[in-house]
């Protein structure tokens, strides 16, 4: 299946819609250079998750160096026709770290793991074939 995406006008980043728990629709960046999916902690709180729901911590490499961050398990996480249950995402406070943008996280390679996909930057589409 082929899905349209949009590009952020200023940066050219790939904007994609994700749905969490079949209720919350959020704008994220598709980042195949990121190993794991990351969500803004403020958006995560909006979705109804609390600190007590954290299932562990990991170290991640950011523009500001290496930091430790929490990991949460999302009941249902879907985008571009792929739905993952009990999907683990790492959480980062975008606002506290000076990231001001209208997207709420990064969709990383872990979401596309096991899929064959092709990103067409001419047509602004992503095709998932498996």
């Amino acid at each position: 299946m082929t899905y349209k995406f949009k590009r952020e006008p200023e940066s050219g980043l790939i904007l994609i819609n994700i749905e969490i728990d079949k209720k919350y629709e959020l704008k994220m960046i598709l980042d195949t250079g990121a190993t794991n999916t990351t969500i803004d902690s403020n958006a995560l709180y909006l979705l109804g998750y609390d600190l007590k729901d954290c299932i562990g911590t990991v170290e991640i490499e950011t523009a500001n160096g290496i930091i430790e961050t929490e990991v949460f398990e999302i009941n249902s996480f879907s985008s571009v026709g792929i739905e993952k249950e009990k999907f683990e995402i790492q959480v980062y406070d975008f606002i506290a770290h000076g990231i001001f943008s209208d997207y709420n996280g990064l969709l990383g390679l872990d979401f596309l793991e096991g899929k064959k996909f092709c990103i067409d930057t001419n047509e602004n589409t992503i095709t998932i074939t498996k």
């Binding site: 940066s11 904007l15 819609n17 919350y24 629709e25 190993t35 403020n42 709180y45 170290e59």
Partner: protein, 85 residues
């Protein structure tokens, strides 16, 4: 429950703000909002997320939008890579 508004009216009423919307209707790309019911709005995203959380229970779908335009002052490069132990 609030009133369904189109995106042009939402932007005019709440310029350069974060707006929490109930039952949004999205465009065909499912990225941009065409209309929705404003539930809470503020210049501060954190405020919208923390106060708005309690206003979502009566809605099947929820989304969060910013009505202005962010102009990044720096290039964004690959970040957030998990460090294998």
């Amino acid at each position: 429950m609030g009133q369904l508004m189109n995106i042009a009216d939402i932007k005019a009423l709440y310029p350069d703000e974060w707006v929490l919307l109930g039952n949004p209707i999205m465009d065909e790309s499912e990225i941009d909002v065409l209309s929705g019911i404003p539930l809470f709005h503020s210049k501060d995203k954190k405020e919208v997320c923390y106060i708005g959380r309690g206003k979502t229970s009566n809605f099947d779908k929820i989304t969060l939008i910013y009505t202005g335009i962010f102009r990044p002052k720096r290039k964004i490069t690959g970040i957030f890579n998990r460090i294998a132990k």
